[in-house]
């Protein structure tokens, strides 16, 4: 009985992993295909990786994607965190009203956001190109940062901040030393979320991209002539880099927790020793 149970569990996880990763593995394998055509294996070759780094268009699109993702996630994190702290200290009713307003863009279809941004930008005469793309990405990223910071604020107790004020800290000092460290995990996860959403986005970028093309719209534009194997190579590299980053972050954070544990143990030992003495 128990063995069957374990087998089914393994099978379920196995199927899930296959669904998640088989397409990515196929893509990585085909990025080493000497033939230009999908589904036609022409032998092992790394020529697409070489061609990728000589292709100015792809590199330019990659540069736009990365710089928009980095800048928009940083700006959105700053704005979103500030907003979240402000919203948190509001009275309940206003807080709910504001939170619903900021959540609306999250559930709103991207298509609506994209088209309305296109109109808004042209009415406000925002210069075409990179500026629009960046502003659009900051705009749709902010609600996600607020969403990931708010729960952390709710978990923390306001009394710590008040205690800091009672003990003579200025509000800004208390914010930096008491509030921010407590909500830091929320801020970081919000920033990472914003970054990935920005790299991912197609629909909104599509409507705000005259003259500045990011990777998603570039790849889509290849549809008429067929997706180039260089794109497989690029996707493979991106996957490996993200995987490496995730592993690194996990290793660091697990080291951190171990260090913290060790420190706590050390402290306890010392206290015990002091008590004995």
């Amino acid at each position: 009985m128990k063995r069957e149970h374990r087998f089914l569990k393994g099978l379920f996880i196995g199927i899930m992993l296959v669904f998640l990763y088989a397409p990515i593995i196929v893509m990585i394998v085909y990025s080493f295909n000497a033939s230009r055509t999908m589904g036609n294996w022409g032998g092992f070759s790394t020529e697409w990786y070489g061609a990728l780094f000589r292709d100015r268009d792809i590199l330019a699109a990659l540069e736009v994607t990365l710089s928009v993702a980095v800048i928009s996630s940083i700006v959105a994190t700053l704005l979103g965190t500030t907003a979240a702290i402000g919203i948190h200290s509001m009275k309940r009713r206003t807080r709910n009203v504001i939170l619903t307003t900021t959540n609306l863009p999250v559930v709103n279809p991207d298509l609506v956001t994209g088209i309305s941004l296109m109109f808004a930008f042209s009415i406000l005469m925002v210069p075409q190109g990179y500026t629009r793309l960046l502003l659009a990405h900051i705009t749709f990223n902010i609600p996600y940062v607020i969403l990931s910071v708010m729960p952390k604020l709710r978990q923390t107790s306001d009394s710590l901040y008040e205690a800091a004020l009672d003990l003579g800290a200025k509000p800004s000092y208390a914010l930096r030393k008491v509030v921010l460290p407590q909500i830091a995990p929320g801020i970081v996860s919000g920033m990472i979320l914003a970054f990935t959403l920005s790299v991912d986005d197609f629909v909104i970028s599509f409507f705000c991209q005259q003259g500045a093309q990011n990777l998603s719209t570039y790849i889509y534009s290849l549809a008429r002539r067929g997706i180039n194997p260089k794109i497989n190579a690029l996707s493979a590299i991106m996957f490996v880099v993200v995987l490496a980053l995730l592993l690194l972050v996990n290793v660091i954070s697990s080291q951190n927790t171990e260090e913290a544990k060790a420190k706590r143990r050390e402290k306890k030992r010392r206290r015990m020793a002091a008590a004995e003495a």
């Binding site: 033939s35 230009r36 055509t37 999908m38 589904g39 036609n40 292709d55 100015r56 268009d57 540069e63 990365l66 710089s67 980095v70 800048i71 940083i74 296109m118 042209s122 005469m125 075409q128 190109g129 830091a184 995990p185 970081v188 920033m191 990472i192 991209q209 005259q210 003259g211 500045a212 093309q213 570039y218 889509y220 534009s221 290849l222 549809a223 008429r224 002539r225 067929g226 180039n228 980053l245 690194l248 972050v249 660091i252 954070s253 951190n256």
Partner: protein, 349 residues
Amino acid sequence: MKRIVSFVLLAAMICLAMAGCSGGNSEATMQLYVLNWGDYIDEEVLENFRTEHPEIDLHYTTMTSNEEMLIQLQSEDCIYDVCFPSDYTISKLINLDLLAEIDTSKLSNYENIDERFLNQPFDPDNTYSVPYAWGTVGILYNTTMVDEPVTSWDILWDEKYAGQIYMYDSVRDSMMVALELLGYSMNTTDPDEIAEAEALLVEQKPLVQAYGTDDLRDRMIAGSGAMAVTYSGDAIYAIMENPDLAYAVPEEGSNIWFDNVIITKSSQNVEAAYIFLDYLLDAEVAAANANYLCYSTPNAAAEEFIDPELLASDVFNVPQDVIDRCEGFIDLEEDEQLYHSAWTRIKAQ
């Protein structure tokens, strides 16, 4: 936690530094915004243009369909100067008054163009457009699976090939096949003729393995189908990859298509746009593009620089009698709705 934050920030700074270093060139006095199809120009041509014309800061963007391009060009504050729409889209753009008239006296290479490809029905005097690439639509077939010669569209209705036929997933292209087989014009607006074509395509549906676009080419190369309705440029590429394949333009006639270069009416950089257009018309540049794309070039002077293997192919170097039996699409304006509703019903069957 702090380390993660600082790590993320560090990564961010490196990215920003990278972005900062590779900014545009400083000598440029002119800007130029080009909107083209994805992968539709030899990258080296763009590279050479940038080195030969350091005074022009070229912004190159790509798109995937005529419809998408229409959206971009129709937007109030469109920044594009040069674009590469297809035939029927050009007539649409002319009707919308979005194109600038082209002064051919500013194009020193204009005489390189083969006159056969000027004065097409979508732009009768070439007032607004200059031809860039062209081709035909025909049947790409696998000679190991099809023994008889392919001369008529009716082979796509042959029960022998049930489940081995690919059709092109686009309204006008598929309706064209049925209309030509019936002996009607591919630009007909007669509801009865369109209804007949619709019935024919519905009848064919059980034999069709799939409706597709560029993926059909890969499937034909892999040998998973006997025949496919294909654009000539894709056909040449497929034949090079798999020598068992062959291409034919049926006797009933077919579509001849053009992608032309236009300058937008709203263009702020007309001077740079003319320099770019003239550059594309240069014989060697046109040949480089033709060699890269495998699409036929309207540039007569380019011939001597074209890959002999390409020139030897009837698919690339289309014989005059094939050109003569082909017709171009024109914009049908309101009547196009007839085609769209017919196609929706066919696909829904």
